[in-house]
Amino acid sequence: MIIESEFLFAADRTTVYAGLQDPEILAKALPGTERLELIGDGQYIGEMVVSVGPVTAARFEVSVELIDLVEPESFSMIVGGKGKVGFVEGKADVRLEDRGAECLMIYRADLGVGGKVASVGQRLLDSVGKAMAKRGLKAVDQMLQ
């Protein structure tokens, strides 16, 4: 599953970049996150609750690792989520373009999904994934104001 889009932040690039390294703000970018803690160099673990169609309120243990950090232009995230209804794993590439007082985020996530969430929820995953990304980034944007 590829999730690819752009988002315009009402904050400058340096602020956005710094914010996304903060577990509290990063958690906002991932809607449904109940806990996200920094456990090491760019490595986070936590828990998320997500509903995808018939798979409701599924709990995932998530891990996020930020890599290839080029401050303040870009970074990548290795993401993993594992729960009793299946798994999500993959990589997201994030690029930040300087737009003065604003900042344009261009992101592309390539995610593999397995287990029940894939076999009965796949049809909805695309739209759920895109909606979650939008919602998460909006929340981050508000927090950065």
């Binding site: 299946g86 798994f87 999904v113 397995g114 029940k116």
Partner: protein, 785 residues
Amino acid sequence: MTESESTESLIGASPLRNEDHRLLTGAALFVDDVHLDGMLHVTFVRSDYAHGHLRGVDLSAARAHPGVIAAYAADDLGDYWAPGPLLVPPPPIERCEFRSATQVPLVKHKVRHVGEAIAMIVATSRYVAEDAVALVEVDIDPLPPVATTEGALAAGASRIHDQFDSNEAAHVVQEKGDYEAAAAGAALRIRRRIIMDRGASAPMENRGVVANWDERCNELTIWDTTQAPIPIRNGLASMLGLPETQVRVIAPFIGGGFGPKIMMFYPEEVLIPWAAMQLKQPVKWIEDRQESFFATTQEREQIHEAELAVDAEGRILGVKDSFLCDTGAYNPYGLTVPINSQCTLLGPYAVPNYWSEFRLVFTNKPIVTPVRGAGRQHGVFVMERLLDIAASELGIDRAEIRRRNFLPPDSFPHDHEILYQDFAPLIYDSGNYEPALDRALEMIEYDRFKSELQPAYQAEGRTVGIGVVSYVEGTGVGPYEGARVTVQTDGRVCVATGVGTQGQGHFTSFAQLVAEPLGLTAADVDVITGDTARFNWGTGTFASRGAVVAGNACHAAAMAVREKVLKTAANALGANEVDLEIKNGGVHVRDVPDRFVSLADLASLANPLRGAVRPGTEPGLEATAYFGPERGCTASGIHAMVLEVDRETAQLEILRYVVVHDCGTVINPMIVEGQIHGGVAHGIGNAFYEQLVFDENAQLMNASFMDYLLPTATDVPHIETAHVTTPSPLNPLGVKGVGEAGAIPVGALFAQALEDALAGDVPEILEMPLSPNRLFELIRRDKDA
């Protein structure tokens, strides 16, 4: 039959079905109806990954969960852990390389498809077992999966079975004549790439197993949704170290088999009886619909590169075909499916030169074994498509090109000079194709459709097309079946046979075959199938063979009982056997209805008390007979359809559907029609609705009936049927199989009718299944602009 006392034969009649009362009143026993005291329930932990090393399974939390009785991973099975048997070894084809890798009861080292069983939880209820599954920690180190048939042989593809140097499971070449030489002089050579994708068998009843170990009697009873109760009994007895006489397998009423239930020694089938013996308590597992999409075998993924060479009149000079066939993660069923494709491609046609090669490949998808049609669809689709294209190129009518190529009625037996899946040469025993084509064209009003109706539809702005395709079906293969017929002292007759039954109407058609020689009605005969305690020998229900192989055994046993009845009656009535008639539940002297003795009395007389037995007498009016054909018999048929397409929505409506079928002697026309109707419904699913969609990680994306589309009653049209009867010389009754026939040519028919309807507004249809979505993509709209 030597003589028939009845004015109307029961063979060819359609009495009400013996089984329907039980089925319609809910009195029929299905596996899930088995409830035993202290019965435990099983849920399996299954792989979320298509391919990976299994690093560990932690069952400690599951075992500690209240209500969980036991939890097992592969290592807990000890010596019982072993890969399943190769069920069908390859036939002795000269150019055949074959590598076998069979399924394992629980994954030990490597997961090879999503849904593969990793651990088994046994609990006091299914709810508890399901909850405990969530507590199992499975550690899988994922490997790149092989997600497509072609990907299996690509450079750098992951190896699925480390013991082999590639994912090629088999490479087989069969040929007759010299294709290249014949094609060199051809007026036209058509070469196309043709693709067919996977579908599920989707029976109404999923699989299920209940096992009960009776330690005092040292006896294991297993209720199993299998199509092969006797081989399952024999195999499980051997695995569990029990004598066969102490294992009883009951395959009760089963809600549809369609092939995947002839797959034997599934992990669940092997583990549930073992667990019952370990725990000394009855154990039950009923497959849920979602796991059925992974754990029950599937079929149909093949990619063909096929070439047809014809002369200027459209006569076939030869066919060359090279195809890939996906066997999924394991290949317990050997080469049955691709050999069926290879052989059935030849159809009802004279094909003097044939070169056919296939590669069977392992992929990280669920296992492939026969599903209704079992590869025959593919051969038919390829050949029928090539003929349609040749007809169009040469300007020949599509029905006419088939007629020109039919094997003539005097060409039988016809030897195709290659080997069939039953290890016997592909020799058609009999056939008469042109009358079937004529009948189908007449019924569907082919000429009138072309000259009047289609132009009229066009004038109304409607998009309507016609199709007509032909096919053969190898049916009724060996090795053998048997039956025991007993006249009971209440005058009723019992026939026990080893095949299982999954809705085919065996309780009626076998009863007819037994009732006929004994002067009874079908309702007087109780048929017992699928219980190893009642009949000890047999192979199973597959390859459209029940009526042919078990049917002939039932009839032969009844004929032997008839001899005993006449002999006993001659003694009782003081008459000569030749003067006796069997009728109305007894025997009387011809033209003297009063000199009558009932079958009930004869049954008592045949079991004499003290002092009345002559030396050498066998007691009882009972006989056992076996039937094994030297090879399969070839059924055939024509399907024709008038199809309307909505260009805007790509939805279809089938306006007419005609089947003219030749299954030799028809035992029960109603049951034959029922089989055809069911087969056509299945075929419609495979043509326009059903497709298992896997992503690039070999994850199945539509494992529920929300997303996997089955045709419903509103999608299946009224089906008009007619029979042509060309009896098979290979069995005394002259019958041929019909169980798969309806499903086989439907894809080819859809493709032809769609092309006819959309005349030029669709490209050649070289893929199956289609769907409303796919058809919408295919319909060209640029012309409208």
